[in-house]
C-alpha cells in the first residue's frame, strides 16, 4: 500500500483500525517530499521535526482511544500542506515573496489553528505566486512549481504548490486561498478536487491579505469527501474576522448521500466560448451528461455579464491589493533596503522586495484609486460587480447548481504566458465571477486531453450552499474514475 496516496477518509480508516500509524504515514510523506520536491518545488518549507512530533502525539491518542479519537479530532494524524500565504506560528511564512523571505509569524491563521486543534500533521508550506497574485506559480520569488502530470508545464496558480503536492501524493490534502480562481484553476490543471468556499464561510484571519473583499480560504483534496471533511474543520465564525459569517458549521460529509435526482443544473452559454480548447468543451459537456444520467435536469442559462468580470476583477482586486500591501513598509517585519530618507527607504525596499507582477498590480490599483480616476474605474467596477452578483442571484432562483469549465485550457507550458499579463489573466476568465459574487464552488476532474493533461469541471452553488456543491461533486465521483488517476512520477 502506498501510504501517501491515501485520502483523508482512507487514512482515518487505517489509523483508526490500527493498520497504520500516523508516524508511518508522516514519514512516508516526508520521504516522498524529499524524493520529489527537488523536481516539483511544491513545498517551500518542510516542517519535518514538528510534523513528526504531531504524528507521535496523534499515535499516542490513537493507541489509547482508537477511532473514537476522531470524534473531536477529525484530522488526527492526517498529514497536510499549507499554502504559504497562511500564517503559521513559529514556521516561516513567505507569501512567495522576497520581502517576507525571513518572516516567522507569532500566531496561527484561524484555519491553521483549527487544523492543529483537529489533530492534523502540518508537513510544511506550499509554493504560491507572490502574494497569491498569479495563475501559474511562475510569480513565486522561489521558483516555479512544476505540474506533476508534465513537468514542463505549470500547475496553475496561485495555489499551485498545494495542488501539485496533493496531485503528487506528497500529502493527503492542503489548504489554499482563492481570490479569483487560485484554488479551482490549479485543482483543474493538476487533476484534483478544489473547493472555493463562500465569502465569509472560513475566517481570513492570518491569511496574508491580497484583495479583502474577494479572498477566501479553500481546500485542495483528492476527492469531494475529503473537501467536506476539511471544510467542517476550518469553517465557522471567528471573532478575529468581522467578515466571517455567523453561519453554523454543517455536517457536510454526512450530507454526501450520492443522490442528485431532481437537482436543477444550469449551463451558462457564456462559459463555452470560441478559442477554448475543444477537448475541454467536450469533457465538460460529457460531465454534464453524467450528472443528467444521475437524475439531474439540465437547462441552458445565460450570464451575460460574464465577459465583464475580468476587467472588474482586475480593477477591484488591484485597488484592494494596493491598499493591503502598503503594510510592507520595512518597519515591523520584512526586508529593509535603507534609502536617503524614510520615503526613499520605503521605495527602495518595495522596489527590491516585490516581484514584477506584484508591482504591476500595485501600480494598476494605485492608479484606479487615484484622484480623477476613482469614480471612472474603481466605483464603476464596483457597480458592474453588483450586476454580476445580481445575475447569479437570479440564476440561483431558477437552478440549484451551475456547471461550467474551470479553465479554458489544460495546463500551459512554463514561460508560455509569462510576458503577456492579459493572456495570463484570461486563464481565470471562468473562475473570477464567483469571487465577485461571493458564491461557492468546486472544481473536479472530468477528463483528460490527448496530451494526457487533466480537465476540470466547475460546479457553482449559491452563497453558503456548499452542501449542494459537495453533494453533486461526490455523486459525480461515485460514478466516475477521473479523480482516481495519478500522474506517473
Amino acid at each position: 500500500m502506498n501510504l501517501c496516496a491515501l485520502t483523508i477518509h482512507e487514512a482515518r480508516a487505517s489509523l483508526g483500525a490500527g493498520h497504520v500509524t500516523a508516524t508511518a504515514l508522516t514519514r512516508a510523506c516526508l520521504t516522498r517530499i524529499h524524493a520529489l520536491n527537488p523536481r516539483l518545488n511544491a513545498f517551500l518549507t518542510v516542517n519535518a521535526d514538528e510534523a513528526l512530533q504531531q504524528a507521535a502525539a496523534a499515535d499516542e491518542r490513537l493507541r489509547r482511544e482508537g477511532a473514537a479519537a476522531f470524534n473531536d479530532q477529525p484530522l488526527l494524524g492526517v498529514p497536510l500542506g499549507i499554502k504559504d500565504v497562511l500564517s503559521t506560528r513559529g514556521l516561516r511564512t513567505t507569501a512567495g515573496s522576497r520581502i517576507l523571505e525571513h518572516y516567522t509569524p507569532a500566531w496561527d491563521a484561524t484555519c491553521v489553528a483549527r487544523l492543529r486543534a483537529a489533530g492534523a500533521v502540518l508537513l510544511g508550506k506550499t509554493n504560491t505566486d507572490e502574494f497569491a497574485m498569479g495563475s501559474s506559480t511562475e510569480n513565486s520569488a522561489f521558483g516555479v512549481t512544476r505540474n506533476p502530470w508534465d513537468e514542463a508545464r505549470v500547475p496553475g496558480g496561485s495555489s499551485g504548490g498545494s495542488a501539485a503536492a496533493v496531485a503528487a501524493d506528497l500529502c493527503c490534502a492542503a489548504l489554499g486561498s482563492d481570490t479569483g480562481g487560485s484554488v479551482r484553476q490549479p485543482a483543474a490543471l493538476c487533476g484534483i478536487t478544489g473547493l472555493k468556499n463562500s465569502y465569509g464561510r472560513v475566517s481570513r484571519y492570518g491569511l496574508i491579505a491580497y484583495a479583502s473583499s474577494l479572498d477566501s480560504v479553500g481546500v485542495l483534496a483528492k476527492d469531494a469527501r475529503d473537501a467536506a471533511i476539511m471544510l467542517e474543520v476550518i469553517a465557522g465564525h471567528d471573532p478575529h474576522d468581522s467578515t466571517s459569517a455567523a453561519r453554523p458549521v454543517e455536517g457536510w460529509e454526512q450530507a454526501l448521500n450520492g443522490d442528485i435526482r431532481g437537482l436543477r443544473i444550469g449551463v451558462p452559454r457564456e462559459y463555452f466560448i470560441p478559442g477554448m480548447q475543444p477537448e475541454v468543451t467536450e469533457a465538460v459537456r460529457a460531465g454534464i451528461e453524467t450528472l443528467r444520467s444521475l437524475g439531474a435536469s439540465v437547462i441552458d442559462i445565460s450570464l451575460p455579464s460574464t465577459t465583464l468580470a475580468l476587467p472588474v476583477y482586475y480593477l477591484i482586486a488591484t485597488a484592494e491589493a494596493s491598499a493591503n500591501l502598503a503594510r510592507f513598509d520595512s518597519v515591523r517585519y520584512g526586508l529593509r533596503v535603507p534609502g536617503a530618507d524614510l520615503v526613499d527607504t520605503y521605495r527602495k525596499t518595495r522596489g527590491a522586495g516585490f516581484g514584477a507582477e506584484v508591482k504591476r498590480r500595485i501600480m494598476l490599483g494605485t492608479y484606479a484609486l487615484s484622484a480623477g480616476y476613482y469614480d471612472a474605474y474603481y466605483v464603476r467596477a464596483q457597480k458592474v460587480r453588483t450586476l454580476i452578483k445580481q445575475e447569479f442571484e437570479r440564476a440561483f432562483a431558477q437552478v440549484d447548481l451551475i456547471v461550467a469549465p474551470t479553465s479554458p485550457t489544460t495546463a500551459f507550458k512554463i514561460g508560455e504566458k509569462a510576458d503577456d499579463p492579459i493572456q495570463m489573466y484570461l486563464s481565470d476568465i471562468f473562475t473570477l465571477t464567483m469571487n465577485l459574487a461571493g458564491i461557492c464552488g468546486v472544481s473536479i476532474p472530468c477528463g483528460f486531453d490527448t496530451a494526457g493533461l487533466p480537465i476540470g469541471m466547475q460546479l457553482m452553488g449559491a452563497a453558503f450552499d456548499e452542501k449542494t456543491v459537495l453533494r453533486a461533486a461526490d455523486a459525480f465521483q461515485r460514478n466516475t474514475e477521473w479523480h482516481l488517476r495519478k500522474p506517473a512520477l
Binding site: 459569517a245 465583464l308 472588474v312 513598509d329 527607504t345 527602495k348 492608479y367 471612472a376 467596477a381 464596483q382
Partner: protein
C-alpha cells in the same frame, strides 16, 4: 454627471507619479514596461465604460453585515514585546527603529 473618460495611455511622468504614490522605486526599464502594459490593461478595462450602471449601487462587500462591533471587549493576552519585535529589521530592543520623519535640527 457622466463619468469622465479616462486617458488610457500612461506617460512616463504619470508612471513615475503613480510609483511615488505607491512607494515603489522603479528602474527606467520597469517604468517603460509598465507604461505599456498598464495602458493595455486600462484599454481592456475600457469595455466597462460602455455598461449602463445608472442607479446601480456599488458592491464593496457581498455580505449583508455592516459595521460589525465586538460583542464585548474581553481582555486577552497579546504578543510579548519580544515576539512583536522578533521580525523587525531594526530595533533598539524596546522599539522599532526607523529614520527620522521630521527634521529635528540635527
Amino acid at each position: 454627471m457622466p463619468d469622465p473618460t479616462p486617458a488610457p495611455t500612461l506617460s512616463p511622468a504619470e508612471v513615475e507619479r503613480i510609483a511615488l504614490l505607491a512607494r515603489l522605486d522603479l528602474t527606467e526599464d520597469e517604468k517603460s514596461r509598465y507604461a505599456g502594459q498598464l495602458s493595455a490593461i486600462l484599454e481592456y478595462a475600457a469595455t466597462l465604460m460602455t455598461v449602463n450602471v445608472d442607479d446601480i449601487p456599488p458592491t464593496a462587500t457581498v455580505l449583508d453585515a455592516r459595521n460589525v462591533m465586538r460583542a464585548e471587549d474581553i481582555p486577552a493576552p497579546g504578543l510579548s514585546r519580544e515576539e512583536a519585535l522578533a521580525n523587525a529589521p531594526r530595533t533598539d530592543g524596546a522599539s522599532f527603529e526607523v529614520q527620522a520623519t521630521f527634521d529635528n535640527g540635527d
